[in-house]
């Protein structure tokens, strides 16, 4: 499924699950500095990437996301000490689960420090290029994200 040819005029929809202390600040800074990057990401802000559960990632794909990127603090600089390390373990496992069902390559974890807006821009560009090469999620088939599943995801994320 992942080797489908890219569709013309296809705009990837990437869900970014990111940490408020680092990547969100970097994304904010990228906006303030008017840095240009593809409008392909929808951001879900977490208090820490350690809060991200694998089911959040799978639900995002159920909702039709073309890809999911998780971005947290650099190793050793988590506000909650080791949330980002736990997130990395979960993302690795989530990758295996996605590989098993034929959605491999559509999930990636990044580390972006609060001051590193250019790195966030590069990460979004990289992920966008990757999805453009893979084509749209075979589950979405050009449709919008499924509102019902998106709502489920929002409810899960809310504390």
């Amino acid at each position: 499924m992942t080797n489908e040819k890219p569709v013309i005029n296809f705009t990837p929809k990437i869900l970014a699950l990111i940490c408020t202390y680092c990547t969100y600040t970097a994304a904010d800074m990228a906006g303030s500095a008017r840095m240009q990057y593809p409008a392909t990401v929808r951001i879900v802000k977490y208090l820490c990437t350690g809060r991200i559960d694998i089911i959040h990632i799978l639900k995002a794909f159920e909702a039709g996301a073309d890809a999911v990127m998780v971005s947290g603090c650099e190793a050793g600089s988590c506000h909650f000490l080791e949330g980002n390390l736990r997130a990395r373990e979960r993302v690795e496992y989530a990758k295996q689960l996605l590989e098993e069902i034929g959605l491999g390559g559509r999930l990636e974890m990044f580390e972006v420090a609060a001051s590193d807006a250019p790195k966030w821009v590069a990460a979004v560009k990289e992920m966008t290029q990757r999805v453009e090469a893979l084509g749209p999620s075979p589950l979405r088939r050009g449709k919008h994200l499924h509102p019902e599943v998106l709502e489920q995801l929002e409810n899960m994320v809310q504390p």
Binding site: M1, F61, E100
Partner: protein
């Protein structure tokens, strides 16, 4: 607790392939702690199945429910009304739970979602090791709290044998020699005399499966003569 591992996804997918509406039943005790079959894992499996079948343009209706313990009648009974609506059931409990669920409330086919592995301990998150083989006769009081039946790769009741080498076992050098550990533990406790004790033959006659235990207080209820 009982340790289990989730079955490979392809195996589960093949098992449920003929059905249109299935129920995944999790178990909130042992298999939840070892991250194989609790509420979270039920959600993950359901989501994986939906995604995988969505990719093939197939539709599968999936119900999800998790009970406290599938090995307990008290928790399974209320589930029975619920299971009737489904064509097949995937139980994420250990082998005991799967069988009990089938026996009590499932007329439709039931499939295990996990491979039950052993009775073990939770060393750290995601890291489990075996400690007990449920052998019907516990020797831990004599052996310094280290089980020769389980921890000795040969399961020797009297050891160490000639195959111990620098605290490791000839069967698999990666495995530690339980009897070497028992010796050092007893030495620390000042109970080395225990090493001289010859343990009698293990009561294998009691190990015939399936085992039954009736608590002494309930013997009259179940018609067992003293």
């Amino acid at each position: 607790m009982i340790i289990a591992e989730r079955k490979p996804f392809a195996e589960i997918k093949a098992m449920v392939a003929p059905y249109k509406k299935i129920l995944i039943v999790g178990c909130g005790t042992c298999v939840a702690v070892c991250l194989a079959g609790g509420e979270k894992e039920v959600g993950l499996l359901a989501s994986q199945l939906k995604l995988a079948l969505g990719l093939e343009d197939k539709r599968l209706e999936i119900g999800e429910i998790t009970v406290e313990r599938q090995c307990d009648m008290e928790f399974l009974r209320p589930l029975c009304d619920f299971t009737a609506d489904y064509e097949a059931i995937v139980s994420m409990a250990c082998g005991a739970g799967v069988q009990f669920l089938k026996q009590l409330c499932s007329l439709q086919p039931i499939f295990p979602g996990v491979n039950t592995t052993f009775i073990g301990v939770n060393n750290e998150a995601g890291y489990y090791t075996e400690r007990c083989r449920a052998c019907h006769n516990c020797y831990l009081g004599i052996t310094g709290g280290i089980c020769p039946v389980t921890m000795c790769p040969k399961g020797l009741l009297n050891g160490p044998c000639g195959g111990t080498l620098n605290g490791h076992c000839e069967v698999d050098p990666a495995k530690e020699c339980a009897w070497s550990q028992i010796y050092h533990r007893l030495e620390l406790e000042g109970r080395l005399d225990n090493m001289k004790e010859i343990l009698p033959l293990h009561p294998h006659d009691r190990c015939t499966t399936p085992g039954t235990v009736i608590h002494p207080a309930y013997k009259r209820r179940y018609g067992i003569n003293e």
